[in-house]
């Protein structure tokens, strides 16, 4: 139709990257890294999600308007989580007995 057909090679590369990242995330979770276990797991998840959105869902060749909508969706998700965490993580920073 309007788009050129993407080669199987591109899709296969993305596919193998996703499988490799899945194996990596399982491997890293078995090593004791303290707080970094969570950071690693979520970084890998974000990379995997981005690969799927960008290549498999073909956002890279979508119109600017579609890109804006996609960006707005994930930005909304970021607002939700960042504002929740800014509340719950900062509780107890100030000395107030009987907080809970």
């Amino acid at each position: 139709m309007t788009h050129k057909v993407v080669s199987v090679k591109t899709f296969a590369l993305v596919f193998f990257a996703l499988i490799a990242l899945t194996i990596t995330t399982v491997g890293v979770s078995r090593i004791e890294l303290g707080e970094y276990n969570f950071i690693c797991a979520m970084t890998i998840a974000v990379i995997k999600g981005s690969l799927v959105v960008w290549f498999f869902m073909d956002v890279r060749r979508s119109s600017s308007l579609t890109k804006l909508f996609v960006g707005a969706g994930f930005f909304w998700m970021a607002i939700l989580l960042v504002f929740i965490l800014s509340d719950y993580l900062s509780r107890g920073w100030l000395p107030r007995p009987g907080w809970w």
Binding site: T2, F11, V26, S29, F38, M42, F56, L65
Partner: protein, 224 residues
């Protein structure tokens, strides 16, 4: 305003509805509409991810202890199965673009089979939870009794999130079946295959939800 081009009656293009100028505009509208739907899905799952974030911060130790009772092997295999299904889905869309009917049907069936394997393994996991009394409610039992109440919250979130995900998979399986029937009835051509592309977007979205559920439910707190 330019005169209407009478030499090219646009509605004669394959699958083009009369209220669109051309196929490109129609496809753009469909893609944007599908993404707007997916944004409502982000908000829907976002609520549950938000709840998970709150409770994990309130009870980090209890949540870490529950990940020992998650079946990491099945979780990891299911992640792989879903990634494979996304790959076959993308190849199905590609076959549709090239007008290859046989390849399209084959890849759609493969995607459906992989989706069913995922759901089958999910059933095995749910059954394990049932046998171990890890389903929140009156029958709930927990090996580390100091976390009895808090662990129930995690298992409730586990069933809510993976359950909603599984329902989306079942809906996806139904949509794929529809696509297979439509494809076998020659409803798609290289000029018009929008439903294949849109349901592809849906399928990949459901895959992304799992990509985030897997580390949050299965991996975190695994070492401690």
């Amino acid at each position: 305003m330019a005169d209407i081009d009478a030499t090219l009656p646009a509605h004669e293009e394959a699958g083009l509805k009369h209220h669109f100028d051309d196929s490109a505009q129609q496809l753009e509208s469909s893609t944007l509409g599908m993404w707007v739907f997916l944004l409502t899905e982000i908000m829907f799952f976002g609520g549950m991810f938000g709840a998970y974030t709150v409770y994990r911060n309130l009870y980090p130790d209890a949540f870490a202890s529950t990940s020992h009772f998650m079946n990491l092997t099945i979780g990891a295999i299911n992640t792989g199965v879903l990634i494979c299904s996304s790959f076959t889905m993308v190849l199905a869309v590609r076959s549709a673009q090239l007008g290859q009917k046989k390849a399209l049907i084959t890849f759609l069936i493969l995607t459906l089979v992989l989706g069913c394997i995922f759901l089958g393994l999910k059933y095995v996991e749910y059954h394990e939870k049932w046998v171990d009394h890890h389903i929140p409610g009156p029958g709930f039992r927990y090996e580390e009794s100091q976390y009895f109440h808090q662990a129930q919250i995690l298992f409730f979130l586990y069933f809510a999130m993976t359950g909603m995900h599984a329902i989306h998979m079942i809906v996806g399986a139904g949509l794929l079946t529809t696509l297979i029937v439509m494809a076998s009835r020659d409803r798609f051509s290289a000029a018009w295959y929008t439903p294949v592309e849109m349901i592809g977007l849906y399928w990949h979205f459901v895959d992304i939800v799992w990509i985030f559920l897997f580390p949050l439910l299965y991996l975190i707190g695994h070492t401690s």
